[in-house]
Symmetry: D3
Subunit: 169 residues, 6 copies
């Protein structure tokens, strides 16, 4: 890790489902992007098969929303985030916190991750006030009930969510 820093290149991994990307995600991405040389957005290939969007769709929407951010790249990954961090040479894992319950889950996860990959450092960022109550799952509920969510997601995402879920209860 010292060597990575010595050549001025700190890689950070921000893993999430991004199903789909919200403005809350993008706020974290932009804030982390200002600090780290390289930021990898890891789209988790989940096994639960409960996703609204396919891995490919989730990657595409996220790439489209972050295409202007130099040093940010989007990749799908399966397996443990700590293993993927190793694969991409990340020395930092970035996680967003929205609430107390996030904290507790992350707290336990960080303990395990430290055990599995001791050199990987986890940094937590607080969600901004305006994104505190916005999650992908809550937005989906709004769409199902016919609510407009344009202010919470990129326009392309809003459009796709309405197509996929609009009025489907």
């Amino acid at each position: 890790m010292v060597s990575e820093r010595s050549n001025g290149n700190v890689v950070a991994l921000l893993p999430a489902s991004f199903d789909p990307v919200t403005n809350g995600h993008l706020d974290l991405v932009e804030r982390a992007h200002r600090v780290f040389d390289e930021l990898v957005l890891g789209v988790a290939i989940n096994v639960s098969k409960n996703e609204t969007f396919s891995t490919e769709e989730r990657v595409d929407l996220l790439r489209s929303a972050t295409k202007d951010l130099k040093g940010v790249r989007v990749c799908a990954f399966s397996g443990l985030a700590v293993d993927y961090a190793r694969e991409v040479g990340a020395s930092v894992l970035v996680r967003g916190l929205r609430a107390m319950s996030d904290f507790e889950y992350e707290f336990e996860m960080a303990g395990m991750n430290k055990h599995l990959h001791p050199e990987l450092e986890t940094f937590f960022m607080m969600a901004s006030q305006e994104h505190m109550y916005v999650s992908s799952s809550r937005l989906k509920e709004l769409v199902r009930f016919g609510r407009n969510i344009d202010e919470f997601v990129p326009s392309e995402v809003a459009k796709m969510l309405v197509e996929r879920l609009g009025g489907k209860l």
Copy 2:
């Protein structure tokens, strides 16, 4: 901030009382030090006047304990941490979390800090399992009751704490 990164130089500020420095502090310092180009340890010149050690003593003990860490420097500061961050050119504020109550305080503080200095990014690091229950105030209590605390602080700190507080209830 982009400019700072472009020349490969991210400065982070870790502000605390360090009254006195513990191994828990040092663990955070070493972990943050691996990620950031420059890490400023800001020793808060408190106004409560309840400190066990003077600002000068706290700075000296911390400097002594971190003297082998390249890129880490120790400074005393007064005023708000966000203002001091601006002064030293820090784009990152590092805070350690030991417990749920820390989280809540920090959560509110981060909200205010974001308002006062929007470009400053706060990163939270979890204390390591073995330092989770170690705080300066708890260690002082142990010393007052005659307990050995050598495993929790640098030896120089242990010696000074015993001199200052040993057996003084």
Copy 3:
């Protein structure tokens, strides 16, 4: 809203699943009923289809249990609670809190609801000590294991729960 108040008529909405109504619900209803001119109990027509009782049954049991409370009426609703609040002219949303985790969920929900319907005020009421550990789902578990729950629900509800779930694991 001022106009609503000027004619002395504050309508409050208390939305829940009421699957089925418990004495804990009734305690909240009676307490809220003393404060508001009109109290609408909104029985959520859920989409999960995991309910023990049909919407009609849930409405009937709740109506039967609250028939003596003047100014309280029971209606089924679908969609978002904030939208239904608008529909019935409610200026207040009443929510019960039993635990810390309720608090967190409600806290986020209140943030979103304020955004969706800024004039709607959410008031939280603490569950009474004796109802703190009583929830519909816990009572169902007791019934499944053959326990008597007469003290936790109206007698009609106890009878129906036993018929529906008694001894069915």
Copy 4:
């Protein structure tokens, strides 16, 4: 209480130190004012003697800030809030929640209050997102460090806080 409601007059008490009143307080006051016929703002005559402003000053600043709100009146009180509620004929106690720790304190307090005055109903309101991290004590700290707080308090309050605390560490 039924009689109070029957003549369309619900009195609510919002007790606090108001040392001094902030925009966060005023937000709660305005929101509660829209729901209740009469809203009494009870300025607690504290016994700790740690207040920045005298009871009279706190009452005056609060009166000045709420003078346009019809149905809202400001009074100083000593003793328990539940006793003062009885004195002013309030059937509702309004409390603001900013954080999890508030919740816990209030939760216990509500239990005791219910015991002391069973007919008094406590309603909790969440602080708005923008006031979540603003408390009187935090604002005083900002003033001491020379920060402008005009956006967080009425202008008259900002002026008095600077006179009283500005640059005094």
Copy 5:
């Protein structure tokens, strides 16, 4: 209960799914075993049918792991833990706490249990630091992703988990 104590025989029940037993469970068992004359490990015969191991397998693995602990016996049970406590003559229910969310669930459960069986005393034990982030479900996830979990479970359990879940996503 007084009579039980008078003959020096306090029976404690530690109910759990044990699906499968982990070193975290064993740590609790060993610690509780030192205090109580008799410790019954109650393997819950769940009704959800989501278990990785059958009741028989879970009992066998637990028996094998605790065979050297005198005064500890393993039994499967269905129904409520409080009812099973009565059946085995236990005057103490032992529960482990790993996190804040455990606390809240247990807190509510203890309230209900006290109501259902007032003479049964619930004692909570904190998980040891090194087991704080280890749960059966997290370990299963590690196994699915091909990680070695030998340090977290008895070797026999590790072997069976790999056979059952290894590489099965």
Copy 6:
């Protein structure tokens, strides 16, 4: 510890300020007393000198309130609870939990205590519903405001509290 158990004699220590003893304390004492052979109530000789009652008074009031409980004895102690536990041969430390914040403090304390005295087992008991909101400090506040507290403390304690604090703000 094994030897202690083998002769059927488990000693438990319940340390607290008992300033003064409340019915909440007595409820815990009675419940713990039923489980352990010997229960030592350790009255902490605090160094803060903020106590309402002297150590001797606190010991006397507690002894008077527990005089009918065989196997319970009251002692004052200074220093760390873990050291006193060793002194009295206790293998169990009993702590009451009233709230989430208690939990967090105790959680950290248990971590440190385990480190200082690994064979000492800490058991947490939940306060009963009816004592959840009753603490010594809250009762003192009630007395200062002239409230009757007879239902919350032994009558002797109520009398002394009124003499000491009644109407003294």
